[in-house]
Amino acid sequence: MKDNVTDSLSERLEDNLQRLRMLLGLTSDLSCVSTEICGTVCAVITIEGMVSSEMLNELVMRPLSEIKKNDKTGPAEVMKYLTEVSLLSADRSAVYTLSSIADKLFSGYAVILADGICKGAAFGIQGYITRAVSSPATENDLLASQEAFSEVVRTNISLVRRRLKSPLLRFEMMKSGRISKTDICLVFIDGKADEKMLSQVRRRIREIELDSILGPGFIQPFLEKRSDDLLFSEIGYTERPDMLCANLIQGRIGVLVDGAPFALICPYLFSQNFENIDDYAAKTYFASFVKIIRIFSFILAVAFPGIYVAAVNFSPEMLNFKLLLSLAAGERSTMLSLFSELVIVMILLEILREASLRLPNSIGTAISIAGGLIIGDTAVTSGLISSPLLIVVGLTATASFVLPAFAQQISVLRLMFIFAGGFAGFFGIAICAVLISANICSQSFVGIPFTSPASPLHSDKLITVFGRKNFKGMAEENTTIKDLA
């Protein structure tokens, strides 16, 4: 109660300004311009860089200076005029406390305080520097939209709204982060999104107790129930507004975070990771074919090196005789055991990947050449690794690039399979496969199993795992994510 009293605005303008300066720690980017409106002393307060100077001059300063100076009225009338009559900005509101003024200022508002009244007027004239809407960097496509989300949540809202011109589309703003007070926007379609799921998402966001939310990655672990125990995530990312819209239509919930050009999608099923917006532009048979290729690539990227080492070291009888001879010849020329070779090469591959990931493109290419050609070729000729192994590694690496969304999981699981296959052959591979499958199958988001519709089986929707329905079929069905529970 006491805090509320000290936080409330007083009638003395000087006192309010002094307290606001103290609240903001005498920050140097706080700007206070004093003026007189109809005989009442007022102050226009902004944070430098957060507001557009053009809009400040055109929408606030000039209209205020044009008000007739001879009309002497009281502060209450001035404030009423500002908050209820004037059209300085479409986004206007009244403020009563210092903390709400601080919130508004940091969100790019101009606040006008008047002497003699414990109330202020806030006008949205945001004008901070932002990146323009650009094409997607990680979700490239051939025949779909070339727009991606940007860092400003309002811009992202407009990108979604433009695609779904429905009165049922809802945006719910929330704030999270004790210090950062980041804007978070829940996006959903009323009637499609499950109420229970919505309330769970709202509750989980409200319960976040972090000082700062600097991106969707800070929210994701809080949206998942057993984040630390799980290998995969029940929450998906997308940088494409069209992809988010497609998910909203299926009853999913989107979360936009201010400062990040990505949207979170809850829940995100395992099979969705094999989808691409281009699938809907391709012929049905081709979309199905590509999807099967993606699933096969995932298995190849995760398990192939492990299976290779298990087959060669533990079960050579599996292999064709000619192939076995060729492998044996290759291995005879190397100095390390197959298992050691594979572990070393895989770790080298991860180092190269990590090195090229965050470097400028030109240097990244140089690293690929140095790593792939020079090190690879020299390692084979010097007898450090065998040629068949290099083919296995190359195949695995290429397959892992098919699904960038699984990059983290593929890197770790691949090593797990190599160790399992290297130490215990197919017995180890089977143990590894069951443990990973059980972990994946244990995941669910508010009652929606992660492995749905494959397990539990929804036979009518199984086609979405291995292909896609034709547009006639899609037009006829009106299912949402709730139907997969």
Binding site: A310, A311, F314, S315, E317, M318, L319, N320, F321, A424, G425, F426, F427, I429, A430, I431, A433, V434, L435, S437, A438, N439, C441, S442, S444, P449, T451, A454, S455, P456, L457
Partner: protein
Amino acid sequence: MKKISAYQAAALLIISRLLMLSMYIADNGENTLLTAVTAASLDIFKMAVMLPAIYILQKKNRIISDRQDSICAVMLGTGALMFLMILTDRFSSLIESAAPEHFSKLGVTAVVLTACAYTASMGIKAVSRTASLLLPIMTAVFTMIFFELRPGILPDRLNLYSADPIAEISHTLTKLAALSSDIFIMFGVFPYISSRPEKTVKIYLTADGIMTLLFFMTSSSVLGTFSGKTGNVWTVLSYCTHGAVIDRSAAVFLAASTVFFLLTGALLFIILKDSIKAVKNDISDSKLLLALSAGIALLLAAMSVRRTSIATLSLYVCAVSVIAPIILLSVLPSSNAGKDK
């Protein structure tokens, strides 16, 4: 408690049955064709007994599902423990015999029990979903392998002759009935099925009949009279495969048995854990599962050192399962009884 569908339960049961088949050891001179016929008759008998039993259980609504009947819980728990020990012992022996230069029985026991405990810690839903996900994959793999076995399948090797058919049938019947852990597992799974458990029974027993017939007929037609001299039929059958891509599928058979064991073991762990929790509820799931896996591994190691057979131990276990409920009956308050009614 009611968490899994009838199909998922059936998948779990089919996998546990496949495990039993993969560990089947033929007697010296056994006629596997006769075994196939006996197994089919046993399957019909199981259906005739189990379907009415399930209907009665549903109607009476008195089963350990509500965790209030401590006696049933103790008996179910001891049964699960016993089966877990027997299966682990047999499975680790199988793996050790498959590649003695790579695997030791003790190491395999420790690894598989830890893996089962981890899988069980994911919950019954996860285990059943994994089973229903892996079963079609396994079926596809075995269909492929079956086609690879085709050139070796010769119908003229099928021979029903037996010197003493009645004695052999009765011996096989006793042997197969003793290996029918599926009956126990079915009643263990029953409390978890959300609806129509009779559907589980029908699906499972139909699949069981087909699988058993196919397995013994294949082994008989591929191995002929040698099938009774091979020991583990599953392993020997795997050596007879010859495919276009995979030369011999022994490793695939080994991996498949491991998958079957891990899922069956995890299911038994869950039944055991829930039975313990029905009596003592203040233990965390993960700690309990870890303690159980360590305890069973130590017990099996101790038995291995002392050369005690599981059969001897099962006698003690059965004795405990009778004595423990009597003690519990005298300890527990009377209001606990009949709460489900």
